[in-house]
Symmetry: C2
């Protein structure tokens, strides 16, 4: 099907208007008109080949919301007119122990990314969400609650689930003391989810200028980590620290704020390895863990939770011809808190 979007034609070049063909619907496919697509920092890393060799032309975008326009003959879970979401992957092996558990993000054969690769078992390039139409196998799509504003939903499909999944996995609830490192596209979702689940939330931020936003999102405390002795007031304090910062930093003062059996979860990908003192982990059976997006069942659970609690990402809506400027502003952390592209402008 004829599709209009924006693409990077070669690494590091700006995005330009791009027309291409999406596959026609198979029996289990759902076709939809995209309404909004979020801009994730990882789109920029891939468009600029900062994470190794990439596949071009590249249509980025893995935070995709739209309205179903067409369904294949065997589709069971979607009807025309439904609001639908697609995230970071569009397929996986379906047979490994992780896929069977609904942890498709950890598929042992490797998940099939929404862009920057080929469709599964195919020579078709997978084109992402910076476009006006999409086709997805229904098993890899989720339903978006009707009461939610679709623009604020788009970033939930990556930024949202990236925080929701560890928050649930490490059992955050009433009484939990949770710290969120960095208040950006990822961090602001962490604050909203942890607060909605009843935790006491502390934002650990490099700069003081987001303190009032943090409070509005549900944080109880805001700590400026530029102050060298910030961690002394929070010694052995947190059950869970969510590290959304991708800059290189010394984890030691953060680890010292974990209480016994506490965990620091790494979500951002820094350029250099972390340096970790074994003694700091031994002292209180502390852990450093990693977490990566979430599987399809958890993605649906998160959207239902957002529907019930009226949780959305804070977004700035842009038109397609602003994507390149938006990239530069995202790199400069100059966005509150996520750009989403209005797909009518493709």
């Amino acid at each position: 099907m004829k599709t209009r979007g924006y693409a990077v034609l070669q690494a590091k070049e700006p995005l330009v208007p791009f027309e291409f063909e999406r596959r026609e619907l198979s029996a289990k496919d759902v076709g939809f008109d995209i309404e909004f697509a979020g801009i994730c920092h990882s789109d920029i890393h891939q468009a600029r080949e900062e994470w190794g060799p990439a596949l071009f032309p590249m249509v980025p975008g893995h935070e995709i919301v739209g309205t179903v326009t067409e369904i294949g003959a065997a589709v069971k879970d979607f009807q025309i007119g439904d609001r639908i979401g697609v995230g970071v992957f569009i397929d996986s092996c379906r047979n490994c122990e992780n896929c069977k558990k609904g942890l498709q993000q950890y598929c042992l054969e490797g998940m099939t990314g929404t862009y920057n690769g080929y469709e599964r078992n195919s020579q078709n390039i997978a084109f992402g969400g910076y476009s006006n139409k999409f086709v997805i196998n229904e098993d890899y799509a989720v339903k978006v609650p009707a009461n939610l504003d679709p623009a604020g939903v788009a970033p939930l499909l990556c930024a949202g689930i990236t925080l929701y999944s560890p928050i649930k996995h490490w059992k955050v609830g009433p009484g939990s003391k949770v710290a969120v490192m960095g208040l950006g596209g990822l961090g602001h979702m962490g604050v909203k989810f942890a607060a909605a689940l009843g935790a006491e939330v502390t934002v650990l931020s490099h700069s003081p200028n987001k303190a009032s936003d943090a409070k509005l999102m549900g944080a109880s405390n805001f700590v400026v980590t530029k102050e060298s002795d910030w961690s002394k007031s929070y010694k052995k304090y947190f059950d869970l620290i969510l590290n959304t910062v991708s800059a290189d930093l010394d984890l030691e003062p953060y680890l010292n704020t974990l209480r016994t059996d506490g965990t620091l979860v790494v979500i951002g990908l820094p350029g250099k390895p972390y340096s970790v003192n074994a003694g700091t982990l031994l002292n209180g059976r502390r852990s450093i863990s990693g977490s990566m997006i979430g599987g399809i069942p958890e993605l649906q659970e998160m959207l239902d939770f957002c529907g019930s609690n009226n949780i959305l990402s804070d977004v700035e809506i842009i038109s397609a011809d602003y994507i390149n400027q938006a990239y530069d502003r995202t790199v400069a952390s100059d966005v509150k808190y996520r750009f989403v592209i209005d797909a009518k402008t493709f």
Copy 2:
């Protein structure tokens, strides 16, 4: 009470015969004749001041087994003639949330070590187990099952619990795939416990010469990690890796052998920080954690488990005048698998 033992009089000096006074019994104290005291590598680090400033004269020893000879008026749990054990700490604050949970090793006020410090709220130097008599508050002692050989029990009080605690905390059981890095005083206990709990155990060892021992202890697999591609056969294989190696090493190949939600537990203390790639943790929600000995309830649970399963440390019994040679051999990893001192020779 008059006690004979061996002490280090100044940092880095050899141990020499040493006579000293232990406190007389208070109402909750138990006095006992030591039968055996294990030599732990951490004794050597402290005697040689390799872990920072230490307190001298130092009587090392925190793997202590003996027979009760005297009890205070308020003692409830011990009788004269009972076999008794003391481990790495002799007291703690008793009031913090960790002490109340029986996790005295993580006491928020700091546990009171068996030596290299003062008795709690006292100006008496705490002297350790390289001696013929001991006095302990009964709340910090454990009962040793009568069917176990006391020489093989001594190392359980530190080396044993150091492995038993993480093995239980991370729920090792039938179906678990556990790797033990290093087959020494710590590692050989990990193999025995994990195998007794029904896990498949793999020893990851620098050198091939302990393969037959590992099998006898219950290991199913023995991998020589000098072979550069050893980790390829174990990609995403282990649920739990117990790292008993205190040498500096690259954790990356080990982390890649962890399956989804797997944990590498650090037990040894290397000289340098570990270098950890965030991406390796993200890829499968992997964790690096620390663990340190165990609390009093778990120490008792372990000894009861050893009694039921007839588990002991493999030991080489020495007399007191051999301690200095034993230190050198321990540093050279030339012991199978733990030295214990016959306390009759003090």
